[in-house]
Symmetry: C2
Subunit: 133 residues, 2 copies
DNA sequence: GGCGTATATTACGTTAACGTCAACGTAAGG
DNA sequence: CCTTACGTTGACGTTAACGTAATATACGCC
């Protein structure tokens, strides 16, 4: 059995970045703008499972075309307590806005997929037609 | 009945841009990079229904987080004939890649929506709890 | 025919999200 | 002890997607 204290899964910067297919520069950049804040051993960054999750969420946001600031907003929603009562209502608003945006995206993707299917059919048609000569 | 020749729906740059909530600079930029090519009357741009459609597709792409280059690729897929036989197969590949990406997005959105629901529930909870004091 | 409004071109400015390079520290292995 | 690999901090460079003047032309109208 591994030592409980030292075994809490931790990652070096390169390991973490390799796992997600980003450069170390990217991880450091996210730290610069306060999206990640790994602990340190001396100078060296040590990423926890929580840091890993945050990175995962950031990258998910990117796939959806969100800015890093957008992602920060969303990720901060998950954190309890960090939200004082005054802001909860505006936070709920923000959440609903995000949901609207996402539903719009769902719609867009549906349409785009339809279009792509058509386009593919056209291509295959063209290949058939021209393949016969 | 309006004159068939002159009545084919056409738009001025400001009208078209207002309709889609973008600036004229944006439309001109899209023209600079070859995404739009409206006809002209003298110097003045005249947008056709086809131009309008292209703009609509570009903006849909943007909502999905695509780059303008990505959108160009996709939009060009719709154009028949412009694709020579040699490229049809690679085009089909591109289409499938796009589809994969979109399915990934669908997945991401589903997860994000779930998360947002949780976050909202937390907020509402917090409001209730604190509202009682 | 002067005024306002729309349009044009040219060109420099801006922001986000990193890339890239330099210069250096440190720990492990041969 | 030397090399190799991985880590650090600046700091300037780059790309995409426009913003923002500045300046000039053209149109409708009272």
């Amino acid at each position: 059995m591994t030592n409980i204290v030292t075994s809490a899964t931790k990652y070096s910067i390169t390991d973490l970045c390799k796992e997600f297919g980003v450069t170390t520069r990217t991880a450091r950049h996210y730290e610069d703008i306060g999206l990640l804040s790994p602990s340190r051993r001396g100078q060296t960054r040590i990423y926890s499972a929580a840091d890993r999750t945050r990175l995962r969420l950031i990258l998910r946001g990117k796939r959806l075309g969100l800015s890093l600031e957008d992602s920060r907003q969303i990720i901060d929603m998950y954190e309890p307590g960090k939200t004082n009562i005054d802001q909860l209502n505006s936070l709920i608003d923000a959440i609903r806005q995000q949901r609207d945006k996402l539903n719009q995206q769902l719609d867009d993707i549906g349409n785009l997929l339809k279009d792509l299917n058509k386009a593919e059919a056209n291509c295959i048609d063209a290949l058939k037609t021209n393949g016969d000569k």
